[in-house]
Assembly symmetry: C2
Homo-oligomer: 415 residues x 2
Amino acid sequence: MEELIQKASLLKNLTSELGALSTTDKNEALLLIADELENEIEFVLEENKSDVLKGEEKGLSPSLIDRLTLTESRIKDMAQALRLLVELKDPIKEVISETTRPNGLILKKIRVPLGVIGMIYEARPNVTIDAASLCLKTGNAVLLRGSSSALHSNKALVSVIHKALGKSNIPKDAVQLLEDTSRDTAEKMFTLNDYLDVLIPRGGASLIQTVVEKSSVPVLETGVGNCHIYIDDSADKQMAIDITVNAKTQRPSVCNAAETVLIHEKWAVEHFKELVEKLAEKGVELRGDQRALQLDNRLVAASEEDWDTEHLDLILSIKVVSSIEEAMEHIQIYGTKHSEAIISETKDNVEKFFTYVDAAALYHNASTRFTDGFEFGFGAEIGISTQKLHARGPMGLEAMTSTKYIILGTGQIRS
Amino acid sequence: MEELIQKASLLKNLTSELGALSTTDKNEALLLIADELENEIEFVLEENKSDVLKGEEKGLSPSLIDRLTLTESRIKDMAQALRLLVELKDPIKEVISETTRPNGLILKKIRVPLGVIGMIYEARPNVTIDAASLCLKTGNAVLLRGSSSALHSNKALVSVIHKALGKSNIPKDAVQLLEDTSRDTAEKMFTLNDYLDVLIPRGGASLIQTVVEKSSVPVLETGVGNCHIYIDDSADKQMAIDITVNAKTQRPSVCNAAETVLIHEKWAVEHFKELVEKLAEKGVELRGDQRALQLDNRLVAASEEDWDTEHLDLILSIKVVSSIEEAMEHIQIYGTKHSEAIISETKDNVEKFFTYVDAAALYHNASTRFTDGFEFGFGAEIGISTQKLHARGPMGLEAMTSTKYIILGTGQIRS
């Protein structure tokens, strides 16, 4: 607790100074971190190794071990990402609008940092660098609370950041890592409204759920994606198959991968077997509703839970529907408002889908896998918002800002 | 509880339909409500009278009774506000940005309603009409939870709305009033994440605090304002006096009224007595720090609590400071990030104030009383946000919207 308050108040006291920094100073600091990371590859790998060994002893799954593991090339990628971030436009101090009121007051809306950002994340050391660099570029102070399984790696990375910031014009205390990774301390962050302006949880559904439920600090909810593809009766056969296979198999472990395909009965009658064939070739386990089961015996019955689950694995649920309305109703019930696609050649149906489906990203004739800050051209990403306030969809630099009004008067008073 | 879930799910089921409504249909509905309000003045006044009588019996303070009371002219003002709202631009379906990615994907960001908005407010029946009309204009469904002290008035107003909507193309269920005004039911709204997209509390500090602390539904925090005026050494004497008197006395009961004046010692030496004179003439009770007390014996000593309190009354705390830095530090400690003003003729100091003071609205040579949706030219206001996420400062129609991305492809898959 003492560490938490001490670090949080250190950060809070830096917010005005950070908000006033020039773009040049911030970019220089990012480049210094990139260089320092490359200089310290051996040290970081050494520290990471002790986390990985401990993780293996504890029996973490291969995919968790993979996310935890740093390599020389992964560290070089981090440094490269930092250099790319330098190229991006600094949103801070941007004048978003300027109006003159009838009484002569000049009203400017300008972009400012959020203040102190709390990041709570699982055992992925790359998030340490991602979050710290996005926060520095936007003049935010950041309190990092990573997983205990990645503590050595995170401490090494933050020490690299501090070393680099020491050579820059940015106060090195702007990035703080909690070394106390107890659950209790994390939960105390949830109500630290006097110090934290926002909490961003990154990780699995249960972590995010806990933060949303328990936090009085405003939360930017990220990333659970139960994404659907609806294949309309008019869908081009090859396009529908290619997109479905891509959305399910290109990287099944991520939130913008598809979990369920809804197929119009007319399309299903003609092309179901070919779709199933291609998916089976890629090793996808297929689960279907009653109508889908009748069309191909390679499917097993889908349970109610399947429709509701982000498998993040090579498992796909298939439902045959009688109309686009039935598909949209299914999406409304089971979707998580992340990414939804329609494959269709019927303009009216595409319009209907875009109007009535409620999600951060809606696709026509494209894979859901594109919901991503880099693919959207933001150059960087702190996560994908599935809530409706503040930011929706991939969150880049702009999502890490707030605004303030500057009002210039000449003695105006209100009558 | 049953009423709550029944009404909340009714609203949730209407969200796609409301989001798709045309501006014409929405404006027509607003005009019908305006007409119906004027037709039903007698009925509404009758119902309001029973709330007022009950309030007087319960011993509500005169200012609360005033806020609760409707009059013919107040109802006509509501109708007029509805007609003005019709003139404002409908933000829904606006294309905010459109880009084409290197792979040919066309990415559009469009404005959509938030969904279902929960309003929790105190005994001010005008909020019923304000909230319902702003929500209707932006295609949002709204669940109103007013005070039990205003229940008859609110029921009457919502029945007027329903009657008008019955003649329009907007589903009349889009506006729902909770008749169960128990605290228990209000608290259940706080965790109704499956139905509510946002909660907006409007009222006193303790109501807002409770909602922020207990709600897992995202909150738009409104309105506590402990606003300061800093009079710099170079401030024009008359301007500083006029602005201070205006910011304190023009309407002391509102959140953008000033609560504390910070005066540079050089200005104080010359003009303190004259400022105090003018404030005393207006009946302002003056409380001061040690240095202020020495300058004029009409002041009483300010307590620590005074610096920290939104009095909403004719009470003003005065502190003499040695520098702009001391003033800014005071504001950082006690301010609520609402509205802060500097009166100065020194450009560098104004720049410093704008850069380092963290608040929704910063004024140079103008009264803090201008922080208001109408004064800012938004035409309407659901409240003044003092948080940093989503919306900051006066919230008009745009603050009641979210966005979604529409992505148009020609078969793109991710490699």
